[in-house]
């Protein structure tokens, strides 16, 4: 294995760490996942054909390590029975007939906000405010790009529960961004 390849792989560590932190939130868990991924990459260096970008290949390995970490964490802390199939808080947004209590207003130039660093910081804060399992499901879907079938399996929950978590996450983030950015 060339020292060059090793150096290139190592140089991707900061990016991989940001990637893992986005998903795992816990710095130690993120460090561990990245370390495992880099070791696997260097051990299986012959598997890198050079066809995809090195970063893409390494991210693929890291995704597996992240999912392993999440599977372990989900087994250790299974979702409470009360969480099942319950959209909970968000039912309060609607009246008895299912209409909005307070219909959402349009936001002013949301895509413009995507170029503002403070907006992305606000989004990160909203993500951090999500309950752990809601965040996990949402990030597996939107950050890792996993299919919901796989997400349910990894989290050890039913598909319905999975969809409820994703719904909760999206509604919570929508509300958080509205409160903390678009309505300020």
């Amino acid at each position: 294995m060339s020292a060059d390849f090793r150096a290139q792989v190592e140089s991707e560590r900061p990016y991989l760490l940001r990637y893992a932190l986005r998903q795992l939130r816990d710095p130690d868990a993120a460090e561990d996942a990245v370390q495992e991924a880099l070791l696997a990459a260097l051990a299986g260096g012959a598997g890198y054909s050079g066809q995809s970008k090195l970063r893409t290949w390494l991210t693929g390995i890291l995704k597996h390590k992240i999912v392993d970490a999440i599977r372990r964490a989900s087994r250790e802390q299974p979702l409470a029975a009360g969480d099942e199939d319950d959209a909970g808080d968000f039912d309060a947004l609607f009246d008895r007939r299912g209409h909005w209590q307070d219909p959402p207003q349009a936001w002013d130039d949301p895509d413009g906000a995507l170029h503002q660093k403070q907006f992305l910081t606000a989004l990160e804060a909203c993500l951090a405010a999500l309950p752990a399992n809601t965040a996990r499901a949402f990030l597996l879907r939107e950050h890792l790009g996993m299919e919901t079938g796989e997400i349910c399996k990894d989290l050890g929950i039913t598909p319905t529960h999975c969809w409820v978590l994703l719904y909760r996450a999206r509604m919570a983030l929508r509300l958080c961004l509205e409160t903390n950015w678009f309505r300020k």
Binding site: F119, L120, L173
Partner: protein, 64 residues
Amino acid sequence: MMLSCKEATRLVSMGQDRSLGFAERAMLRVHLAICRGCGNAARQLEFLRRAMARLAEQDGTAER
């Protein structure tokens, strides 16, 4: 049978994860056409997906 706003927002969210069935799509389309609140909410949920992609992009270009 008309959708409630509560049902509509759930379908919008589900539509981001799986293909909606023909009937679901049709009912949702009708509801979104006549309900401004849900139309705004749907656009905002779509924006959220773009915002997440932007976050990931920023991770890729952030300084070491």
